[in-house]
């Protein structure tokens, strides 16, 4: 079993060493691939010193595209399981096991870490939380699976999911559409309870106008994704 930790990063030069250090401490068995999404800060210099593998995108693709690039590379490198951990430090390396377990036992093709199963720790409040709840309810109904944290980026992908997503991982702010896409293509998604921290430094790229656009994209995805033909992927289980 070749397992990889995938860390998409945009302007997180100060947080990356912390995240990588934590990962090495809790999971020395995992290889690490960082995808630098056209960062304008000192990320490249930091990466050179961290001793990890990395992809340096020269144009900004956004988180969805960056993850897709990483999954594409991971597949080429022969990995069969990939854990996505964000570079801002919100996802804790100590919880990676919870995400990997359902894949290891074959219970699911992909696992999403949810802040809202069990004790939550840091979580969103106010209007964004209401929006998340509405989204969660809609997605649960559409995918016929429990969706409690639709925008969580803490994911683990098994071999079947990796094969599909190396080509078709959604772009933009992709997590809700990802659940729709996996469901439409017959992949089982399990949820694992996790606690997230506030980001270690910097600011989110999800500004209000981007959030509005992302919301519209989710609406569009809700209409369109269930009606799409299932995707065929070369390669076998």
């Amino acid at each position: 079993m070749k397992r990889l930790a995938l860390i998409p990063a945009h302007n997180e030069a100060s947080s990356l060493p912390v995240v990588v250090g934590e990962l090495r401490q809790h999971h020395p068995d995992l290889d690490i691939l960082v995808v630098d999404d056209a960062s304008a800060d000192t990320t490249r210099e930091v990466l050179a010193e961290l001793g990890v593998r990395w992809l340096s995108l020269h144009q900004r693709l956004g988180i969805g595209g960056a993850v897709r690039a990483g999954l594409r590379y991971a597949r080429q490198l022969g990995y069969d399981t990939v854990v996505r951990l964000d570079a801002d430090g919100q996802h804790q390396a100590a919880h990676v096991d919870r995400l990997l377990e359902p894949i290891r036992t074959g219970r699911a093709d992909a696992v999403q870490g949810s802040r809202y199963r069990g004790d939550a720790g840091y979580h969103t409040t106010g209007i964004p939380r209401i929006g998340q709840r509405v989204l969660a309810t809609s997605l649960s109904a559409l995918t016929a699976q429990p969706v409690t944290d639709p925008t969580s980026g803490f994911w683990a992908f098994g071999p079947r999911a990796l094969r599909l997503l190396a080509e078709h991982h959604p772009t933009g702010y992709p997590e809700p559409e990802l659940r729709l896409f996996l469901s439409r293509n017959g992949l089982g998604v399990a949820e694992a309870p996790v606690e997230m921290r506030p980001r270690l430094a910097g600011r989110t790229s999800l500004t209000p106008p981007r959030a509005a656009l992302a919301f519209m994209r989710v609406l569009l995805a809700i209409v369109v994704v269930p009606l799409r033909a299932a995707v065929e992927v070369p390669g076998r289980d």
Binding site: R44, A48, S56, Q59, G172, M216, R217, L220, V224, R228
Partner: protein, 138 residues
């Protein structure tokens, strides 16, 4: 606006909206670029359905035949959409040119790396084209 014209207008706008959504469904049209068409088709649909708004706008503009306003709006939308896509094309042109340059640089770096070893993989000593300075980072 007569009933017949309204039926035609609503049907055509609805069909346009469905066409755009189907193109997104078939992955022929990317979500990002579909929004402007969805907004246009949607606006046309709304104007076709609510003749009061159309008539009010026609009165305000001094246009005698309300469906002419629909035509005007359609032409305006098509113009704006075309302009928007010209902007997108310009940005993509810049991206493509940058990719071409990066690729050429990457190929040169690969070539130079290759020249440091002979066929058996032994480091070459006296390759005349070999650079003595560092090749630099990305």
């Amino acid at each position: 606006m007569t009933n017949f014209v309204q039926v035609v207008a609503v049907t055509v706008s609805a069909l346009l909206l469905i066409l755009v959504l189907d193109l997104v469904r078939r992955r022929k049209l990317t979500e990002e670029y579909s929004f402007i068409w969805i907004v246009c088709a949607g606006a046309l649909l709304v104007l076709s359905l609510w003749r009061e708004i159309l008539h009010a706008v026609a009165r305000w503009l001094g246009v005698f035949y309300p469906p002419a306003v629909l035509l005007l709006v359609l032409i305006l939308f098509v113009f704006v959409a075309s302009l928007y896509f010209s902007v997108v094309i310009s940005r993509q042109r810049a991206q493509i040119e940058r990719l071409v340059e990066e690729l050429a640089i990457l190929a040169a770096q690969q070539r130079e790396l290759g020249q440091d070893r002979d066929a058996a993989g032994h480091p070459r000593a006296d390759d005349p084209t070999r650079r003595t300075t560092s090749h630099g980072a990305d």
